[in-house]
Amino acid sequence: MSEGNFTLDGEDIPFQEGQTIMQAAMAAGKYIPHLCYHPEFKPHGSCKLCTVRVNGRATASCTQRAASGAVVESNTHAINDERRALLQMLFVEGNHFCPSCEKSGNCQLQATAYELGMMSPHYDHFFPNRPVDASHPEYLLDFNRCILCSLCIRASRDVDGKNVFALSGRGIKTRLIVNAKSGRLADTNFSEADKAAHVCPVGVILKKRKGFAQPIGGRTFDLNPISATPHPTIKEG
């Protein structure tokens, strides 16, 4: 397998043929902000948080193959401004009330916003009306927090072989749906053993009766910023 090097913010990063910029950066211990990327799944390239400049051209680093000699910029003032704006878009698109969210402290959206110093949502809120689905005996779906990253879709389809989740609608009306005529999670074959039950980066797919189990101060991103632990195994209970 052939290898090469590119530079990330001036530092040499080695890569193997076929690796994306994101994969090579993570292997080298470098953090590029991201939400829809997860090392265990096929890259999706939709959240665009990981946008970098490759030889001056903007591209998503999770889908862009690394190329030898490329000059990649990531941690610059201008790029982080764009990322912050993308985060702000995600925050105003849904209903993200961190103080009352069980995922707070373990949420990648929140932690990424901390990392990038997002002090406010900046834009006018959409305040959409998205009813929760509490039909399932063990799990709650709170669509208010969905960022449409498709990780649960990929996990259910590619790992669980179930297709419990999908995106329907279009544009700003894009929404997460479940595999049941009733539209209710309880009427799908979703189960706690599914990979899809454990990949949501935000607080949509939640185990019932387990909320707020960790005290403030002891949660994943209380302990370390997300740049230090981009994909911690979030312990349940």
């Binding site: 009330f97 103080p99 009352s100 002090m119 406010s120 809120h125 305040f127």
Partner: protein
């Protein structure tokens, strides 16, 4: 920090909030004394002054849920050179904004007419009472806000950091541990 020759005027208020951010402000503890060397308070629950005059910094807790909140916020914006939104409610509407998915008439109907156990309920209509807005809004959707201190509430340390950054003429920045939304 060198004491400036003239103290900065600071006003604070709580709109659709719980005063938790003000309580947290008091959590800067003995640093209050250092702060009082630099600032004097205009309108604030601390002073009980009812209207603010020209100020250098206005600190507003809580979002906008009724007409009075709007009037107070406009008074602050008109008088304060720098306006700071403090806490989750001021920043994104917070807990009160969780009513935004419901229609206001439906809420009033439920609370004052339909709720179980109510007899002869009526919706308060006294002109003294401010009317609620159809949705709860964070401050920046109604006036221009200069700085934000997120958190529910932000810690005393976070508040101290932003204020001291500002007083020293630095762009306020909260690092890991100080910036949080809950």
């Amino acid at each position: 920090m060198d004491a400036p020759t003239k103290k900065l005027k600071v006003a604070t208020t709580s709109l659709a909030g719980c005063f938790g951010c003000h309580m947290s402000f008091l959590d800067i503890d003995e640093r209050l004394f250092a702060l009082l060397d630099l600032v004097e308070f205009d309108r604030s629950p601390i002073t009980d002054i009812k209207h603010c005059g020209p100020c250098d910094i206005g600190i507003v807790e809580g979002g906008l849920c009724n007409a009075e909140n709007v009037h107070v916020l406009r008074e602050f914006r008109a008088n304060c050179r720098i306006l700071i939104a403090i806490g989750a409610c001021a920043v994104n509407g917070g807990l009160p904004a969780q009513r935004n998915s419901l229609s206001l008439p439906a809420i009033l109907e439920e609370i004052y007419h339909a709720q179980h156990g109510l007899t002869h309920g009526s919706i308060p209509d006294d002109p003294e009472l401010p009317l609620p807005l159809d949705k709860v809004h964070p401050l920046h959707e109604v006036v221009k806000v200069d700085y934000f201190i997120p958190g529910c509430p932000p810690s005393g340390d976070a508040i101290w950091k932003v204020l001291t950054d500002l007083l020293a003429g630095r762009e306020p920045e909260l690092g890991h541990g100080l910036i949080h939304y809950d």
